[in-house]
Symmetry: C3
Subunit: 358 residues, 3 copies
């Protein structure tokens, strides 16, 4: 059976709201083979019914606490691997092998889940507030003009907000990823805040195409090296677990037979395991690259993301070690370029306060 690891520092104070949709898995991760995962401090098992809908249950048999995720599916129900207790999709025990009577107390928590875009979203807070309208809008990820792919990157050894704040301040790009991309050094002039979201925008004129590593980007765009383009883009803190960003590239004088516009969209989704560890998923949609065979295109995009995100991950995990050791005696010093991150923290704090008040 699969070895179940713990959640790391489960005792650290929770700093993530539960009344929120969080990604539990990429859609393709959930199948007829139960998937056990720590999400938001809870052990949860995910599986699909025969009709294909997703079920999320507390991954702990009410009888002897065995992980249901190590059991088997029987139709739409899951069977505990230890003594064969059987649970339906609502978490009610429906069958106990050793006796005819099934006590009503034999039940496990069932969590609201929605399959939306390319991800499965879970709500582990108050189920009555699990409003589907709170899910992010993701038009491009369903648009056939856009080629779309995504993956579960794995676990990151840091607080989820370190990842969210990383993508809310792209002035780190030339330092951490590609020294040639100076244009990112200018902090966004425009940060818009709503009750639940933070959006910053940027515009770069006459800059070299692509991003790091740029070879695969140029191949996907089907343009030659040295091309100068204009870029407009934005990033949005959609929720504590979801960042959405877009970039439209304009080629002011395209070569003969080439396009003059390219659109790129990405999602960065994090879900806390505990206060110092999180899951990370990403999704990319782009309206170019259709000339490349699909497998090769997927491989290019995944390779690009793996290279860039590894640089972020290593740094963020190093920061977390410093935080954990309490090595710092003074607070962070935040600047104008941190405004989007600061606004995001305020939203999270309001959500936590609202939960604490009820």
């Amino acid at each position: 059976m699969t070895r179940i690891e713990g959640t790391g520092n489960a005792r650290a104070k929770r700093d993530y709201p539960l009344n929120c949709w969080w990604v539990a898995a990429a859609g393709q991760e959930v199948s007829r083979r139960p998937l056990g995962r720590w999400l938001l401090g809870s052990r949860i098992v995910l599986y699909r019914t025969e009709a294909g809908s997703v079920v999320a249950l507390e991954d702990r048999c009410a009888h002897r606490w065995a992980p249901l995720s190590e059991g088997k599916l029987l139709g739409d129900e899951i069977v505990c691997p230890y003594h064969g207790f059987q649970y339906n999709a609502r978490g009610m025990c429906t069958h106990v092998p050793v006796q005819a009577h099934v006590p009503a107390a034999l039940k496990v928590r069932s969590f609201p889940v929605r399959e939306h875009g390319t991800f499965v979203w879970i709500w582990t807070g108050n189920p009555e507030r699990a409003d589907t309208a709170l899910l992010p809008e993701l038009p491009w990820f369903a648009d056939p003009e856009f080629f779309q792919t995504q993956a579960y990157y794995g676990e990151i050894g840091c607080n989820y907000m370190l990842v969210q704040e990383n993508v809310l301040d792209l002035t780190h790009v030339p330092h951490l990823h590609d020294a040639s991309q100076h244009e990112w050094l200018a902090p966004p002039a425009d940060v818009k805040v709503t009750d639940r979201t933070v959006t910053f925008a940027f515009a770069h004129s006459g800059v070299s195409i692509g991003d790091v590593p740029s070879d695969s980007v140029k191949a996907m765009m089907d343009v030659e090296c040295g091309r100068k383009v204009n870029r407009r883009g934005w990033g949005t803190f959609v929720s504590p677990g979801c960042h959405f960003s877009g970039m439209d590239v304009e080629d002011p004088a395209p070569a003969q037979g080439k396009r003059d516009r390219y659109s790129f969209r990405s999602m960065h989704c994090t879900t806390p395991i505990s206060a110092d560890r999180c899951h990370y998923w990403w999704s990319i949609a782009q309206d170019y690259g259709h000339h490349i065979p699909k497998d090769e295109l997927i491989s290019m995009i995944h390779g690009f993301v793996a290279t860039v995100f590894k640089q972020d991950k290593d740094l963020l995990e190093a920061i977390q070690v410093t935080v954990d050791q309490g090595a710092a005696t003074s607070p962070e010093v935040l600047l104008a370029s941190d405004r989007a991150a600061i606004e995001a923290r305020r939203i999270v704090q309001r959500m936590l306060d609202a939960e604490a008040a009820t």
Copy 2:
């Protein structure tokens, strides 16, 4: 030298009595080479005197806390590897290389030990209560009619009672071990409780022979596949660290020249390292298999136990992870099939209460 690991979560509340005989080692593990081991929260060194009797001392020199188990034996005494302080079998320091005078304070705890059956048993509680009459009765393990073998399985990453409760409820057999053995699903009708023990009994009629993996069992019994037999058996919680079980198989119509009765006895011994880790030893005695060469027979029995117990171990360790993370918000729901386990818990609690009272 051997790397000494810690005990894991030594700070968790102790939930095992000390006024109890626990297995410290299989007899063959203790030799003239000192063996250091964490037992019941204490670091203990075990060795044999020249005459062969077992000594158990606190594995920590009173001078500078070096592990005596890394030292050497000199006759019946043990010599600290750091500065050569020498201790006798009662834990008194008898020689200090740097000076003639040996202060009376130079002593380490000595623990009552008994070699009984095939194991060495230790008592780390009040030595005045270390009554040999409290050791389990093990007639079959000394009976020449029975072939006997045992082993130290190793460390299990769970509370010792998870292992004890596992063998007190065999309705898990068809789910965790062998789906074909439906007869185990019926919980034992008969659970007998005394001051210190819990015994359940079972009887299966007309069931397929053996257990999982059954090939080796059939080979040992020298019968062909598909044979239907009757089984009577029982399991006894003898003490918090020892479970004893027996099974007598009757073949109602044995093939020509074959036996009509087979007896099988087993012991499951656990000793806490800390509240979330324990040692596990097993011992098996059976009155059949004598036609098989001894080495091959040992290998068959050990292979059988390794396969089956690995399934238990993996599940029990997964349960412990859930317990450690405090992932559960509701208590276990216990059924009639848990009665033997519940009674065993009550006995342990009474033993703990009695210790706390003195």
Copy 3:
């Protein structure tokens, strides 16, 4: 990037003074490539300016807590790997890529450092008390008559005082290192204590030459086996992080053309990472061995130290495990041979008390 590990048990009570010079690195470890290291509970980055002097800064950008040690040097300044914030050798931020104004709050701690002997020494306590006069005197390590070498051994999984006390009581030599060297069993008659130091002395007459492993020692001294010599030596607890020892060997009847005197000096330097882990450096100076090619001589000395110290390290780490587990119920029993160690503990305690009082 380099994976940054935590400090181990950072929560254990600090038992090392900060108003003290501690070794931060061997001189050759510090270069134009930044070196990040946990020292005395702080994460510190070390590097050299273009002129070669050593800089020690808090290894945590004041902005987003990224480790500066993963950044690059620009002249005498260090650039954060995350957003390019730049700090000078005094820890003041001098440049922020995203804006013209550099807030005064953007600074990291800068620590007094001195390059002395072959080591870099750091003071993380009150900088006003960082008196250079408190550095140890090390004449032989600068004397051209002496061949000198040193190394960073690595991290030791024990409290720094276990290492310091190990070298303050050499009666462990025949037990842990070489059973043939009985002469070390006699505890030093002479222990001299000052306000800040403890010194013991020893004298051995007519003993076999060298130490363990003695072959390389004899080769370095250029004498044959079986030679009997006289030895006089001493060990000094110079400070909580530094032990200095010397030994002069006299050959009363040297073979023709051979020397009659050989001098050996060594330093053992420890610096706490946390209460249960420390760094260890050593340095050796000797006035013999000049007939051996330098590379070979270095290799002999380093091999000798590695063999001997591995025996100490394994034992000291085993002792620390016992201490961590709280397995001991009684205090250490200390004898006359522990006098130097006890006096050293008293000095450390006085330093801690003095710090607590201010």
